[in-house]
Symmetry: C2
């Protein structure tokens, strides 16, 4: 098997280390204000050492970090529908409360990426689109089972829920003592006939 011993193994490990460090640094300062050198020092090698492992330069590092994290996150939602999906959203928030770095990474990058020139602009556009789709579908499924309060429209409920999620994250990141998961659960329950 490749990547399990000798030279291959060492490379794979280094890439892991670098990704971890890159994640931490990007999370702290965003993409633009972070330097490859900073990441390199965190790993204990030089700038050129890092670039050796990521041929595409700094941008390749960013892409790799994002892909790795997203694969992890979407895993938790796969296969879930309706109320189960909504409950999973609450759980994701609960987990995130223990991972300030992850939240900060996405906040920093998605903020920078509002600029259409930003290398990750399309990535975040598409990501948000997918999320809205998925949450809307979940509310639709609940609606189909008569599980929504009267007059609630799935897409509106989805946008509302996402807004509340983003907003609670913002306040929490700024040091306020808010319970993100409970806040979201409470908010979702405002749309459901029977609370989660």
């Amino acid at each position: 098997m490749a990547g399990t011993r000798g030279t291959y193994r060492k490379t794979a490990q280094r890439r892991e280390q670098i990704l971890e460090a890159a994640f931490a640094i990007f999370a702290k300062n965003g993409y633009t204000a972070s330097s490859v050198n900073e990441i390199a020092r965190a790993v204990g090698i030089t700038q050129t050492g890092v670039l050796h492992h990521f041929a595409g330069g700094k941008l390749a590092l960013l892409t790799a970090v994002l892909q790795q994290r997203d694969a992890l996150a979407e895993e938790n939602l796969r296969g879930k529908t309706g109320r189960e999906f909504l409950a999973a959203l609450v759980e994701i928030s609960r987990v995130q409360a223990g991972q300030r770095g992850v939240v900060q990474l996405y906040r920093n990058l998605s903020t920078e990426a509002v600029d259409p020139e930003h290398p990750a602009h399309n990535y975040f556009r598409e990501r948000l689109g997918r999320i809205i789709e998925a949450v809307t579908q979940a509310f639709s499924e609940v609606l189909a089972e008569d599980g929504l309060k009267p007059g609630i429209e799935p897409r509106a409920a989805a946008l509302n829920t996402l807004a509340m999620t983003e907003g609670l994250e913002t306040l929490w990141l700024q040091g306020l003592d808010v319970d993100m998961a409970e806040g979201i659960r409470w908010h979702i329950n405002g749309f459901l006939a029977k609370p989660l």
Copy 2:
């Protein structure tokens, strides 16, 4: 009177121009990723020309921009209490929907400023504290008139309202077609015995 003619007048005008440009550039790219040179070019002078007017360097520019904007914003809320204050919040959102730059400036800067090392960290900490205080007080005043739905706690309502405000701004900035003002009004009405 000082600042009305001759050399003084020219200086004052230049400072205005520079502040305007600085605001636009900071709004687009945040503080760190913006350069004095970029601002200078927007005004049509050189980098050193700008620094001549703002002795404290780039940081003095940032401070000046923030102070100017905040004075303007807090003006709209002065003297208002209770339901009138909450209604003013909705109105501010309505105005902001026409000023993408302002919203983006605060989003960019407050995101960067989560880092305790950031020059504007304390500024944003204190600003958020003041806002929470003010909104909580407004809900308290409504409570005192029996204007809240049963079981609603003023501070919780305030935090919730702010979260929704931030969240709607986030989605709106990312290009989604959401009506921030109506969203906030709808949300506040969820707490009030009699809707706004």
